[in-house]
Symmetry: C2
Subunit: 365 residues, 2 copies
């Protein structure tokens, strides 16, 4: 076994999920994630945790959903499982990213609604999602298998403690600030973040962070004004979005365009009222992620990028009891912050040309 698989498993179990003796751990294993599951099992055994593995097979799901009439009963057994679990580790990594492409959207939606109690029970555990590199994901990223594995492990096997400390600096600035301004080619956007709390997403439940890899600081803007261009292409619900542009007035999208996927972008914005407002501003800080791979788990954490999510805001960013932007969607759109760009908080430049003010080479305000 590649030593990096073992290191991935130990990072997941120890840094991300903080598993301890006697913890009931559910491990969801995608079709292509067997090797990571073996390494995770060894780590869980060594830590004295309990293990129950579930089979997260896209082909099994597809067969089930296509055969079902769509009138789903509540998933009581699944809910009971998660209610008894302390930790849920999801090991992604399938064998075909299009495996469920022919499941009718209505069936999938009805299924998701019937399982909402089970999903909430899972989200109440110390859950963490990660990805085992498979040939299918390498193909989706336009990369060879070997190069893709290097890419994934560079993203996952970070010095998370050091990155958490660096990200804390940005969190402190955002928590104290009331206005963020983003300036780049095609972008001049102001975001009201007064009273909001940033999340230091350091790939650990200790940081309210549930992705491995992570490496972003995000908050929920209260208001947005101006325009922004997203020059990192991304596939949303099977449709490619390239060079999307949004214009905000009074917090709401009033104009949009895209070099590719403009109609799909329009449909997204029409989902509901909240879909035209921004639920999240995120700043990617993971330097192990050096290129987009059309997978949001990685792309949005790429150092030297920011992302804006249309739709739902996360509660962790809001004052106690406050309601954030609500929507059925949460779609992250990503912009590079390279030469000529600035991220400014309350008039002070925090990042210029992709370098933070605490980095060597940063050229002052």
């Amino acid at each position: 076994m590649d030593d990096r698989i073992r290191a991935h498993a130990e990072t997941l179990v120890d840094w991300s999920a903080r598993v301890g003796p006697g913890d009931d751990v559910v491990v969801r294993v995608a079709e292509g994630a067997h090797d990571l599951a073996v390494a995770v099992a060894a780590a869980l055994g060594d830590r004295g945790a309990n293990l129950l593995a579930t089979y997260g097979s896209d082909e099994v799901s597809r067969a089930y959903l296509r055969a079902h009439d769509g009138d789903f009963a509540p998933a009581d057994a699944e809910r009971a499982l998660y209610e008894s679990a302390d930790v849920v580790l999801s090991l992604g990594g399938g064998r075909n990213t299009a495996a469920t492409a022919d499941v009718p959207g209505g069936t999938r939606g009805a299924y998701d609604r019937a399982r909402s109690d089970a999903r909430e029970a899972r989200m109440a555990t110390d859950w963490v999602s990660t990805v085992h590199p498979t040939r299918s994901l390498a193909q989706a990223a336009d990369m060879s298998y070997e190069a893709y594995r290097d890419f994934v492990y560079d993203a996952v096997l970070r010095d998370w403690e050091a990155l958490a400390a660096e990200m804390a600096r940005l969190k402190d600035v955002l928590d104290a600030g009331s206005e963020v301004r983003l300036v780049a080619e095609g972008t001049d956007l102001s975001l009201d973040i007064g009273g909001r709390t940033a999340v230091n997403s350091a790939a650990s439940v200790e940081y309210d962070s549930h992705n491995l890899p992570s490496g972003e600081v995000f908050t929920a803007p209260a208001g947005v004004e101006g325009e922004i261009e997203f020059d990192v292409p991304i596939t949303v619900r099977g449709r490619r979005l390239r060079d999307a542009r949004l214009v905000f007035e009074d917090g709401t999208v009033v104009d949009y365009a895209a070099a590719e996927g403009e109609a799909a972008l329009g449909e997204l914005l029409d989902t509901d009222e909240g879909a035209r407002r921004a639920g999240e501003l995120g700043v990617g800080m993971n330097r192990g992620i050096t290129r987009p791979t059309d997978t949001v788990l990685f792309d949005e954490k790429m150092a030297g990028t920011v992302h804006l999510a249309l739709g739902r805001a996360y509660d962790a960013c809001l004052p106690d009891g406050a309601a954030g932007n609500d929507s059925a969607i949460h779609v992250d759109l990503i912009s590079r912050m390279d030469d000529g760009s600035r991220l400014v908080v309350d008039g002070e430049t925090i990042q210029r040309d992709g370098l933070f003010r605490w980095e060597e080479g940063f050229e002052g305000a």
Copy 2:
């Protein structure tokens, strides 16, 4: 997909487990059973049942058990899952029958003990175990993959209703009888079955039968006298037993021998007091099983054989409230009933030369 996989899945879901709309079904998927899992998922979706798939990977288990110190916590999440489930379908079929050969026996034993509540919760559901044919199982059976698939589907895809009706005839004879006598080369054994109830094991929970394939009628003898030779070789706990012989006096084994594995047989008999007594007499009636494959799930159902299990008796065979033979083991040993053999109940020959009295060619008492 081979049509037989679909037929196997439908037999399992409809005939064996009697799955209905809204049933919570847990499907345990072995490493090599993916294709059967896909077909089972389609059948469950079509019947409107809920599906949760678990991953029964030997390699995951091995990694977990070898890393664990052996002091296992109760498996609460697993127990909660089975307590909420209506049906548990176990799809066997691994990629290496020796995958857990280097797990220390003590660790395995401690793990099984810690999971006894979870196991009992599973046994309280409408559970059914079956096997998807894999190359590994073909290898263990000394067969090509294609020949092994033919073998498995011949055993599984029976006219179960017709077989259940035929087996009911033998059950009626055994339920009414008080003494069974087995006569064959090397065998002359009398078994007291007065007051015991035979199980018509027709591969369906409707018949108290939890294996697919099944196809046997079994009961629990109260007393045993005489000798028996087991000419179907079988591997018990990794050790080969060939031409084992047992001599019973007063219900207890007083002498034993074997052409191969005699020491292992001695160890089995020494497990506990109940290990020296017979817990089950079974009569194989599945004509789709035409050769032994060193897998008890199939071998003990082979038409033209009988088997005697050392150890634990099943409650279903006993009068209400009565205690049957108790033991930590239940090991089935198998004899052919071919030319020259007789199965006699209360003096009446029920089977001669491998043919039942209701079959063409049977030559009367």
